[in-house]
C-alpha cells in the first residue's frame, strides 16, 4: 500500500505526457497540411533570430512595461522548471526534496530561494497582466476578435499561473522540515506563520495537498496549451527560426507563374507541345490561397504560434483608422480554420472531406484583404516573427488570378499597366515629357 502514491503519480504523469504527445502529433500533422517551402537557407541568421527574438526576447522589450513583465514570467517559468524535475523524482520514487540530500545545503537553499523570489515576481506580474486586461482594459485586448474564447483563454492562463505560483509558495511554507532548515525560504518564511497554530498533521496535509495540486496543475496546464494561445511558449522557438530572413519588402516570386510567363514571352515556344513527363505535378491546382492547405506550412506554424497579443493590430494603419482589417484576426482565423480542417480529418479516417467552407469568405472577408496597405507594420510589431501580410497577399493572388475579383479601381489600374506600362491611362510614348515641361 505504501507504493500507492507513487503508482498514482506515475499514472498521472503517463496520462498527462501521453495526451500531450498525442496532441503534439496532431499539431505537427496539421501544420504539415500546408505547402512545402524551402527553409534551408540562411542557417546562421535563423539561429541568430531564434536566439535574439525567442530566447533573448529582443522584440518584446520594445514595449517596456509588458516587455519587462513578460521577461519576468518567462524567466520564472524556465527556472522554476528545475523544481518540477525534483517533484517528478520525488513523486516517482517516494523521496522528499531529493535535491536537498544530493546538493550541499547552501546550494539547495540558493536554488529554492531563487525559485521563491521568481514565484513571487511571476505572481505580481501576472496580477498586473490581469489588471491590464480586465480593469484598465487596454484597447488591444478589447477588439472585436477578442470576444468569447480568446478573452476567457487569456484570463484562464493568468488564473492558472496565479494558482500554480501560490501553491508552490504554500507548499514550501507548510513544509515544516524545510522551514526548519531556514535556508532558501526567503518568501515562504513569511507565509509559514499563517499555519503556525495548526496541528502538525493538518499542516502536513496542506503541504501534501499543495504538492499534489501543484504537479497535477502543471500537467493540466501542459495539456491546456494545445487548446490555447499559450502554445506560443513552445512554438515561438521554431517560429522565429523558420520566420522570414529576407528584407520585409520582398514578396516571393511565384515559380509556377514564372514558367508560364516565360513560355508566353518565348517566341520559339510551341503552345501545342505535349507537356514533358512529370510536368503535371508542377502545375499548381490554384494560384494564391483561399484555404489553409494552400498556405505554406510556415504560415500555418505562424497561426499556431500567435498569442493574440495584438501588437500587430495596434500598429496596423487600416485598423487604427477604423477599417475591418486586423492582422491578429487574420492569424486567429487561420488557426481556427486549420483546427476545423484537422477535426474534419480526424472524423473521416484521416481524409479531409469537403465541407463547403474555406478560410477566405467564411472566416476572412474580401473587405479585410483589400484594406491592407502592405506597410509591414504588423510584421515589424510581432514579437515572434509572424507574417500576417504574406497570408493577405496570397489571398489577393487567389482573388485576382483565380476569381478576377479585385475592386474595380484596382482592375482599371492593372489594365492600364498591361496596356500602357503605367498605372495611369497615359501613353508610354509620353514618358519623357516631363523633361521639357
Amino acid at each position: 500500500m505504501n507504493y500507492l502514491p507513487n503508482i498514482i503519480f506515475a499514472i498521472a504523469l503517463i496520462v498527462g505526457l501521453g495526451y500531450f504527445a498525442k496532441n503534439v502529433k496532431k499539431l505537427v500533422r496539421n501544420i504539415k497540411l500546408g505547402q512545402d517551402v524551402d527553409v534551408s537557407d540562411n542557417k546562421s541568421q535563423r539561429w541568430k533570430n531564434m536566439a535574439n527574438i525567442a530566447l533573448g526576447q529582443s522584440k518584446l522589450v520594445k514595449r517596456p512595461v509588458s516587455g519587462f513583465l513578460h521577461v519576468v514570467v518567462y524567466v520564472g517559468f524556465i527556472i522554476i522548471n528545475i523544481e518540477v524535475l525534483e517533484i517528478i523524482i520525488d513523486g516517482l520514487f517516494g523521496t522528499h526534496r531529493i535535491f536537498s540530500s544530493v546538493l550541499p545545503e547552501a546550494v539547495y537553499g540558493f536554488l529554492i530561494g531563487t525559485f521563491e523570489v521568481l514565484a513571487l515576481l511571476v505572481l505580481v506580474a501576472v496580477i498586473i497582466f490581469w489588471i491590464r486586461r480586465n480593469i484598465i482594459k487596454l484597447a488591444r485586448f478589447w477588439k472585436p476578435e477578442m470576444k468569447g474564447w480568446p478573452k476567457s483563454d487569456g484570463n484562464i492562463i493568468l488564473y492558472f499561473e496565479m494558482v500554480l505560483m501560490t501553491l508552490f509558495l504554500v507548499m514550501n511554507a507548510t513544509d515544516l522540515h524545510f522551514q526548519d532548515m531556514n535556508s532558501g525560504n526567503i518568501i515562504s518564511q513569511y507565509i509559514a506563520p499563517l499555519f503556525s497554530g495548526m496541528a502538525e498533521g493538518t499542516v502536513h496535509f496542506i503541504e501534501r495537498a499543495a504538492w499534489w495540486l501543484h504537479i497535477l496543475g502543471i500537467l493540466t496546464f501542459l495539456n491546456y496549451l494545445y487548446f490555447s494561445k499559450h502554445l506560443h511558449i513552445l512554438l515561438a522557438f521554431p517560429n522565429t527560426f523558420y520566420g522570414r530572413v529576407n528584407n520585409k519588402g520582398e514578396l516571393n516570386n511565384l515559380a509556377s507563374v514564372t514558367k508560364e510567363v516565360k513560355m508566353m514571352m518565348d517566341p520559339d515556344a510551341d503552345p501545342f507541345a505535349a507537356a514533358p513527363e512529370g510536368a503535371e505535378d508542377e502545375v499548381p491546382e490554384k494560384f494564391g490561397a483561399s484555404d489553409v492547405q494552400d498556405l505554406s506550412w510556415v504560415q500555418l506554424l505562424n497561426a499556431y504560434t500567435c498569442t493574440e497579443c495584438g501588437r500587430c493590430t495596434s500598429e496596423c494603419p487600416a485598423n487604427l483608422t477604423g477599417k475591418k482589417l486586423s492582422p491578429r484576426k487574420i492569424m486567429m482565423d487561420t488557426r481556427d480554420r486549420l483546427e476545423e480542417v484537422g477535426k474534419n480529418i480526424d472524423a473521416n479516417n484521416g481524409e479531409f472531406k469537403e465541407d463547403g467552407k474555406q478560410l477566405l469568405g467564411d472566416y476572412i472577408t474580401n473587405e479585410e484583404i483589400w484594406a491592407c496597405t502592405s506597410c509591414n507594420a504588423c510584421v515589424e510589431a510581432c514579437p515572434v516573427s509572424i507574417d500576417p501580410l504574406s497570408i493577405i497577399i496570397e489571398m489577393r493572388r487567389y482573388l485576382v488570378m483565380e476569381k478576377s475579383d479585385a475592386p474595380t479601381e484596382l482592375n482599371n489600374m492593372m489594365t492600364n499597366i498591361e496596356n500602357n506600362g503605367a498605372p495611369w491611362p497615359y501613353n508610354q510614348q509620353d514618358r519623357l515629357n516631363w523633361k521639357n515641361e
Binding site: E250, A422, W434
Partner: protein, 263 residues
Amino acid sequence: MSEQLNVPTMAELMAAGKTPDILFWVGSAGSYDDRAKKITKAFVKILNKAGVNFGVLGTEESATGDLAKRAGNEFLFQMQAMMNIEVLNMYEVKRIVTCDPHAFNCLKNEYPGLGGTYEVMHHTQFIKQLIDSNKLDIKESDYKGKQITFHDPCYLGRANSEYNAPREVLGSLNANLVEMKRHKATALCCGAGGGQMFKEPEKGDKDINELRTEDALKTNPDIIATACPYCMTMMSDGVKVKEKEAQIKVMDIAELIASSQNL
C-alpha cells in the same frame, strides 16, 4: 523654366557609344504625376549639378509591376519585370537609382529572382553619397533653423531598413529636425501602399493619410519632408484636409536639396 535639363536616354547614349555610370529609373509616378514630376526634375538638377554620368530609359521604361504584384496580380508583375529586365540587361545596366521606394524595393529585391540583378539605390542614399564624396557641397541653406519632420516611406524604412540616409541628407541643411512619435520602424504608413493609392479606402473612421498628417502636425513643422511620390500625394492631401497648406509645405528631400542649392 530655367535652364534646360540634361537628360540623356540610354538609346541616345548607346548610339553615341557611351555607357553611363548609373541608370535613373524615373518610375510611373515620376513620369506622369504632376507633383511627382517636380521631384524628378529636382533630382535631375542635382545629378546635373554633381556632374553624374547617368541615363534614363525614357519611352523604353515601363511600370516595374510592383503595384500589380501587391494587388495580387503575379502574372502581370512577372510580365512587366521580364520585359524590363530584358531592356535593362540589353543596356548592360549595373547600377540603378530611383526616387520611388516601391520601385527601389521591387528592383532590388524581387527582380533578381527573375534574372535582373543590379545595384539599386534610393535617391536619398545616392544624394548622401554625393554629399559624402564632396560632389555636392551644401553650405548655407534657406532651411537653416526651419522645423522639418521626416515621414519614413514604408518601402524604404521598414521594408529595407534604410532610416539613416534620408535623415543624414536632411541634416546637411542645418534645419531643425523633429521626429514624429511614430518614426523609423514604427512609422505609420501614408495610406497609399499596396495599391491603395488607386482605390477608395475601405469604410472606417478616417483616412490613413489624415491620421499620419496629424502625427506630423504634432511636431509643429514648417516642412514635412517625404522621400516617395505616393507619400507626397498622401501627405499633401492630408495637409489640405487640415487646411494647413498655407503654413506647411510638403517637399521631397530631392526638392529640398535642389532648392537649397538654388538649382
